[in-house]
Symmetry: C2
Subunit: 219 residues, 2 copies
């Protein structure tokens, strides 16, 4: 027992983010998979709701028994408890740049392409498969276009979003690119985003967090 248990799902972007952060910090953790599809979604059942009333993954059970939720709050917590290696730069203005890139994904793209949103589109609004795919693709393209514009023009960008070491921004970027590829979204208009994501996946901490390598991975 490491003291930390991640309640997540292999394909969940937000779980993927927390796995990367834990790996970067070198913090050992157990995994308690929550299957988002099987049996109508294990996250909606009483056992998981007792842990997290939001019925969302990930949740992180800590060594002191507390339960943390919301991936970005969990990662900021890890950053404060385990400052090295830093996942945010030293200067406030640079930290704001990194956090803004992370939030641009976490607030502007990911919430719209969440499983429960896609379900609502189909079940409540009667959207067709094609309309659901167009919706998914629309928010990825809108978000990636502006993020690409930002990254392509900012001198702070290096092999990672900020310089040559991974930060919170890469932690959010990589799962979003992984997701876009899963749905076969063409990414040729976003060369900076793709270059950074591919470079990051060569890093052990990112590679070990790959959905395909998790204990609950399936097709």
């Amino acid at each position: 027992m490491s003291g930390f248990t991640l309640h997540g799902y292999f394909r969940s972007s937000a779980s993927f983010r927390v796995r990367i952060a834990l790996n970067l910090k070198g913090v050992a953790y157990d995994q308690a998979p929550v299957h988002l599809v099987r049996d109508g979604g294990e996250q909606l059942q009483a056992a998981f709701r007792a842990l997290n009333p939001d019925a969302l993954v990930p949740a992180l059970t800590c060594d002191d028994g507390s339960v943390l939720t919301q991936s970005l709050a969990i990662i900021e917590y890890l950053e404060e408890r385990y400052p090295t290696p830093a996942l945010l730069p030293g200067l406030a203005a640079d930290r704001a740049f990194v956090r803004a890139a992370a939030l641009q994904i976490a607030c502007e793209i990911h919430p719209l392409d969440n499983l429960r949103v896609l379900k609502y589109l189909k079940q409540e609004l009667g959207a067709s498969e094609a309309q659901k795919d167009a919706w998914y693709s629309h928010w990825i393209h809108l978000g990636f276009a502006s993020l690409e514009a930002r990254l392509a023009s900012d001198s702070r960008v290096g092999s990672f979003v900020f310089g040559d070491a991974p930060t919170l921004a890469d932690i959010c970027l990589v799962p979003q690119v992984w997701n876009a590829r899963r749905f076969a979204i063409p990414l040729s208009d976003y060369p900076t985003i793709v270059r950074i994501a591919d470079h990051a996946m060569q890093h052990d901490a990112f590679a070990a967090a790959d959905p395909a390598r998790q204990p609950d991975a399936s097709t």
Copy 2:
């Protein structure tokens, strides 16, 4: 000239958040209103895109000429530059609690009820007014129900979300409640949320950030 200029819109929740934070920190700022509806949306025009390629408000122009985006990144920046009064508690676990409550609104509710999302529902998916209203209401109720469960059961909650002083969580909560009321969403199932939001609005920093009191306010 204060050195800070907030490019926002009176009714935008994310702009409202940043106004509250600036007021709480006692940081003077000018306002440069960006009308989100007039002329098809000033945020979509070249002048604003040059400032923020995301075409989203708010953006904060700083005293050093840099442009910050994403409301939560801006508020964390203000917190780092002007630590007093603190908008986050001292302990990492408590900071995670406050950030999670903030993100539950900023990631799970607000992005789905954004202007551009409601537009997409109508224009691309042919949603009726009633379907659009049901969508809006659905994400408010889903998010508020779990947030209420969390706040009603956590001993850290006081007259504000964390104890008896405002934090980042209240800064996100108040605009979301304001928005829900604007659309006449019944809030009787969320007594803790309503109690905190009403208490916060008695605080000068929150009251001065009220959309109705901004220079660009209109009906």
